[in-house]
Symmetry: C2
Subunit: 184 residues, 2 copies
DNA sequence: CCCTGAGGTTAATTGCATTAACTTGAAGTT
DNA sequence: AACTTCAAGTTAATGCAATTAACCTCAGGG
């Protein structure tokens, strides 16, 4: 029995790949084990079960998104920052549907580690909104509205078939415009 | 063995209730069977399996929502119609999370029955937008933007914990305002 | 009154998650 | 170099859910 050299992080990455390919709801530890070259119960030496793996994917996804969002808004402000931020969000969700789906759920109450990665993401997003000079509640509402719009878009782009021929990019652009206009 | 008097519709309704209570992802035919007072395989005399039941819930939910949306926009137009429509959407999703989750997924390609209930819902929504006098692509984009916003809100209201003390109602109202402003 | 089929039943199979009990080899100790 | 130990695996066992098959039975139409 040669050692497979697994670590919790490796298992979670393999699981995230499975989730991206098969969909989060069809993520199965059996498939993860196969991809890791290990028997199914062998995974339990590294992770605590399916729910723990999903939490791991969520944290991984939020961290990956944070990096991309930060890169996207570097050097821009205001409306341009909003557009770049939104584009990066949409692109990540489209490229990694399983990871993205896992990332949506809020951290469990009292999960400090998960909270921490969430907070880092929020900090990046809040920074991207600086150009609008929003304060207090206005900033909170603005960030919520942005997340709602981006999540709604990403989610429906994936699940709902927009049958009409009109361009989805155009819809996305108009949505961002509407937000931008409401933030000034 | 007294007959339980089941019908496909009854089974789907029971399943929808289970989904609302336990969450769509935890919907189980075993629970549905128990609620129907029947053995699990007994369900198969009325429905074709779990996927078929989920499709049934989706259609039921879209039909129920259509009725509520239509009632909400009766007698109003423009911004007021938008607000009523959105409020009814949000209320339904909050009251029936399992049904709502099932309703989001687009009909399978070629599923004429499912398409039909979808189309009726879209007709009601489109009618609610009449006051904005949008035409062609503008109307399509507007309806998409509205759905994206409402779905994003409903979905995050359910899954993501908005930790901040700011009112969610206020966020919702601002979102609707932003849309309304962009539609005029 | 019969007899047939819809609406049930139990039994069997399969797939996955999880736990338990066992094995082994690699790393560190003496 | 041999010894010990424990982390990283293994196989075996259990339980639940979905699905299929094979069987039973009552209720209603001829």
């Amino acid at each position: 029995m040669p050692r497979a050299g697994l670590t919790p992080a490796r298992v979670v990455e393999a699981a995230a790949d499975v989730a991206d390919e098969a969909g989060l709801e069809r993520l199965t530890l059996a498939a993860v084990a196969k991809r890791c070259g290990v028997s199914l119960p062998g995974l339990y030496k590294h992770v605590d079960g399916l729910d723990a793996v999903k939490r791991g994917i969520a944290m991984l996804a939020v961290e990956e998104m944070t990096v991309r969002l930060a890169a996207a808004v570097a050097g821009v402000t205001g409306r341009e920052a909003l557009a770049e931020l939104s584009g990066a969000y949409r692109a990540y969700a489209a490229a990694h549907p399983g990871r993205y789906a896992a990332s949506v759920r809020a951290p469990a109450p009292g999960d400090a580690e998960h909270d921490a990665v969430s907070d880092r993401a929020i900090a990046v997003i809040a920074a991207a909104f600086k150009g609008y000079r929003l304060e207090g509640g206005d900033l909170v509402h603005a960030i919520r509205m942005w997340r709602i719009a981006c999540h709604g878009f990403a989610s429906l782009e994936r699940d709902a078939a927009f049958g009409r021929p009109e361009s989805l990019d155009e819809t996305f652009a108009r949505l961002i415009d509407a937000l931008d206009a409401s933030f000034v």
